[in-house]
C-alpha cells in the first residue's frame, strides 16, 4: 500500500485486480485497519467486470460481506459492468434523515428529555422484529414500493416540501415491485414506520459547534438549535430482497463467467435479466425505506406537538442513503458517462451547482449527514466538487465499529450504560438491554476522526456538530 496524498492510500493493481484500490484514511486509521480483511475486500471488488477507475474505501471502512462497509465502486454498464447485491448490503437504503426542530425552547426540551424519550419510543416501534400499527395490504405495499416517501405524503403523512429535501426526492423512479418476492412482502408489510434494532436509532440533539455560520444558518442549524436524527432503513422488506437476489446472483456469476474471490461478491452484468430485476427490486426496497423514514418523521412531529404545543414542528433538512446502487452521470477522463455507482456504508456528496442537489441548497452543496455513537456527537457537512472528481461523489457514512458485539456486551456487563449516559445529560429509552450494551460508545471509533479525513481530502466540508440529549434505540 502506498501513501499518495495527505489522507489517501493506494493499493496497486496486482493479480486479478482490474483497477487499483484507494482508501481514504489518516495514519492512525490506516494503522487500525492495516491487517483488517477490509483491505482485501477493496482488492476483491477491484476484480469485478466493468469497474471504473478505482475500488474505493472511505475512512470509516471496515469488514463487510463482499464489499467492505465504507466501500464505493462504479461500473460501466456499456462495458459489461456488473451490479452486486453485496455492494449495496442487506439493509437497502439504510440511511439517515435530519430534522430541524422549530417552536421548542432548547432548555424546555432538555428539562423534559425523559418524557420526550418515552413518548418517542411509544410512537415509533423499535426492537427486534417489531411491527408497527401500519399493517399494509398487498396493493398498498406495491404502492409504497413504487412511490416511496411520496406515497406517504400523498396520504397526508408529511408535506410535499419534505420530498424536496430527500435524495432522489424520496422515490426511486426505477423501482419494480414485480421483482420483489412473497417472503419480502410478508416481512415488510407490518414494518412500515418502525425503527428496527442494532445500530438504528432516533436522537434529539442540539447543535453544539458551528464550523460555517452562513451554511449552518441556511440549513437551520445555528448554535443551540434543536435537531432530530433518524437512522433506519428498509427493514425486513429490503433484507429479504437482498437475500433473495444473493442466491440468484451466485448462480448468475457462474453463468456469466465471473470469477468470485468471495461468494458474497456475487454479481451479474447490469444489462442482464437478473441484473435488471435486482435493480428494480432494490429500487422497491429503497422506496420502502424512504417511506419508512417519512412515516417516522410524521410520528416525531406528532410527539413534539403533543409534548410542546401546537407551535412545535420539525422541518426536513435532508435525507441520505447509505446503502444503494444508482445510475449516475460522472465525468471520467474528460468524458461524461453513465455509471452504476455502488455505495455500501457510504454517502453521496455532490458539490455546489450539481443539478441533483435540491434548489434550496444548490449553491451550498448537498447536505451530508454522518452519525456518531450515542454518547458523543454526529456531524452535518456539505458535499464538494472534489468528491465528484475523486470518489464518484461519495464520502463516509458513520463512525465504524471498533469492538465486536460480543466484546461490547462483555465490556458492558458490569456497567450501567443508561446511567452513564444520564450522567452526560442523555436520556435513553430502548426496547431491550442487549442492544444498549452492544451499542455503547466504546464500541465505536470517534466519528470526528473520520470526518476530519473527509474534510482534509476535500470530499465534504464540516458545517455543524450535534450532540444528543435523547436517544431511542431498538
Amino acid at each position: 500500500m502506498e501513501r499518495i496524498g495527505d489522507v489517501l492510500w493506494e493499493l496497486p493493481r496486482t493479480g486479478a485486480m482490474r483497477v487499483p484500490g484507494r482508501v481514504y484514511a489518516s495514519e492512525a486509521l490506516i494503522a487500525s485497519i492495516r491487517d483488517d480483511p477490509c483491505l482485501e475486500q477493496v482488492r476483491n471488488v477491484a476484480t469485478l467486470p466493468g469497474i471504473v477507475r478505482w475500488s474505493l474505501g472511505m475512512p470509516d471502512i471496515h469488514w463487510g460481506y463482499g464489499f467492505p462497509i465504507g466501500g464505493v465502486a462504479a461500473f460501466d454498464p456499456a462495458q459489461g459492468g456488473v451490479i452486486s447485491p453485496g455492494g449495496v448490503g442487506f439493509d437497502i437504503n439504510c440511511g439517515v434523515r435530519l430534522l430541524a426542530v422549530r417552536g421548542v425552547k432548547p432548555k424546555k426540551a432538555r428539562e423534559h428529555r425523559g418524557e420526550l424519550a418515552v413518548a418517542l419510543l411509544k410512537a415509533v416501534p423499535a426492537g427486534a422484529g417489531r411491527g408497527g400499527p401500519l399493517k399494509l395490504k398487498a396493493h398498498e405495499l406495491d404502492q409504497v414500493a413504487r412511490g416511496g416517501a411520496r406515497w406517504a405524503v400523498e396520504r397526508g403523512i408529511g408535506r410535499p416540501s419534505d420530498l424536496e429535501h430527500c435524495e432522489e426526492q424520496g422515490c426511486a423512479a426505477w423501482a419494480d415491485p414485480r421483482a420483489v418476492s412473497a417472503d419480502a412482502r410478508v416481512r415488510g408489510a407490518p414494518q412500515l414506520g418502525t425503527l428496527g434494532s442494532g445500530n438504528h436509532f432516533m436522537e434529539v440533539q442540539a447543535v453544539d459547534e458551528v464550523y460555517d455560520e452562513k451554511i449552518a444558518a441556511r440549513l437551520g442549524l445555528e448554535a443551540g438549535a434543536l435537531t432530530v436524527l433518524i437512522h433506519t432503513g428498509s427493514r425486513g422488506f429490503g433484507h429479504q430482497v437482498c437475500d433473495d437476489f444473493l442466491a440468484r446472483m451466485v448462480r448468475a456469476s457462474a453463468d456469466h463467467g465471473i470469477d468470485l474471490p468471495d461468494r458474497q461478491l456475487c454479481s451479474a452484468p447490469f444489462d442482464s435479466d437478473v441484473g435488471r430485476e435486482y435493480f428494480g427490486a432494490m429500487g422497491a426496497a429503497m422506496n420502502f425505506a424512504f417511506a419508512n423514514r417519512q412515516v417516522v418523521t410524521q410520528r416525531v412531529r406528532e410527539v413534539l406537538e403533543k409534548q410542546f404545543g401546537p407551535d412545535a414542528d420539525a422541518v426536513v433538512v435532508y435525507d441520505v442513503c447509505h446503502n444503494i446502487a444508482k445510475l449516475e452521470r460522472h465525468v471520467v477522463d474528460g468524458r461524461e458517462r453513465e455509471l452504476l455507482v455502488h455505495r455500501k456504508g457510504a454517502t453521496r456528496s455532490f458539490g455546489p451547482g450539481h443539478p441533483l442537489v435540491p434548489a434550496a441548497y444548490r449553491d451550498l452543496g448537498q447536505p451530508v449527514l454522518v452519525p456518531g455513537d450515542m454518547g458523543r456527537y454526529s456531524f452535518v457537512l456539505v458535499g464538494a466538487r472534489k468528491a465528484e472528481e475523486d470518489t464518484f461523489g461519495s464520502c463516509c457514512h458513520g463512525a465504524g465499529r471498533l469492538l465486536s458485539r460480543t466484546r461490547a456486551r462483555r465490556l458492558a456487563r458490569d456497567r450501567n450504560v443508561p446511567k452513564e449516559l444520564a450522567r452526560l445529560g442523555i436520556s435513553l429509552q430502548a426496547a431491550g438491554r442487549r442492544t444498549v450494551d452492544e451499542e455503547l460508545s466504546d464500541a465505536y471509533k470517534d466519528v470526528a476522526e473520520v470526518v476530519d479525513v473527509v474534510q482534509r481530502a476535500g470530499l465534504a466540508r464540516r458545517v455543524a456538530r450535534v450532540r444528543p440529549f435523547v436517544v431511542v434505540k431498538g
Partner: protein, 144 residues
C-alpha cells in the same frame, strides 16, 4: 453444542455436532437459543414444521439450512428450538421436523433482530478430515 465467535458488528456462530445430522440439529437449537438469549421458557408452546434443504456441497447446504431456519422465523414467525433430522440426510438433501415456538409466545425485548444469513466465512466439515461419521463443525455469520 455452540458458541459465539468474535465478529465485528454481527454474530458468528460456531456449532459442533455428531455427523452431518447432528450438526444440523445443534444448529437449530443454536438458532433458537441465540435469538432468544437462552430465555426460552420450558413451558413455551411448541409447534412442528417440516423443512428440507439441499446443496451442491456441505457449505451450500449448511447456509441453506440456516436460511431456512431464518425464514421460518422472519416469514412464518416460528422460532426453531430443536430439530429431528430424518435418517439418510446428506448435504445433497436433508429433511427434518422442526420444533418451534410461535412469536406471540416470546418476549420481544429479549429477541435479536437478524437481517440475513451470510456466506461470509461459512464452513461445514468433519472435524477429522475423511471421517464424516464423526463430529462436524460448522460456522455461520449472521448480519444483524
Amino acid at each position: 453444542m455452540w458458541r459465539l465467535e468474535e465478529h465485528t458488528a454481527d454474530v458468528c456462530l460456531v456449532v459442533e455436532g455428531r455427523g452431518w445430522s447432528g450438526l444440523l440439529e445443534e444448529a437449530a437449537a443454536a438458532y433458537g437459543a441465540w435469538s432468544a438469549g437462552e430465555d426460552l421458557a420450558p413451558a413455551a408452546p411448541r409447534e412442528e414444521r417440516a423443512l428440507a434443504v439441499e446443496g451442491r456441497d456441505a457449505v451450500e447446504a449448511w447456509v441453506a439450512w440456516w436460511r431456512a431456519l431464518h425464514r421460518l422465523w422472519t416469514v412464518e414467525e416460528r422460532l426453531a428450538v430443536a430439530a429431528r433430522i430424518e435418517p439418510g440426510a446428506l448435504p445433497a438433501l436433508s429433511r427434518a421436523r422442526i420444533d418451534c415456538v410461535p412469536a406471540a409466545a416470546l418476549a420481544e425485548g429479549a429477541l435479536v433482530d437478524a437481517k440475513a444469513v451470510t456466506w461470509h466465512r461459512a464452513e461445514a466439515a468433519p472435524i477429522l478430515p475423511g471421517a464424516p461419521e464423526g463430529d462436524w463443525r460448522g460456522r455461520v455469520v449472521i448480519d444483524l
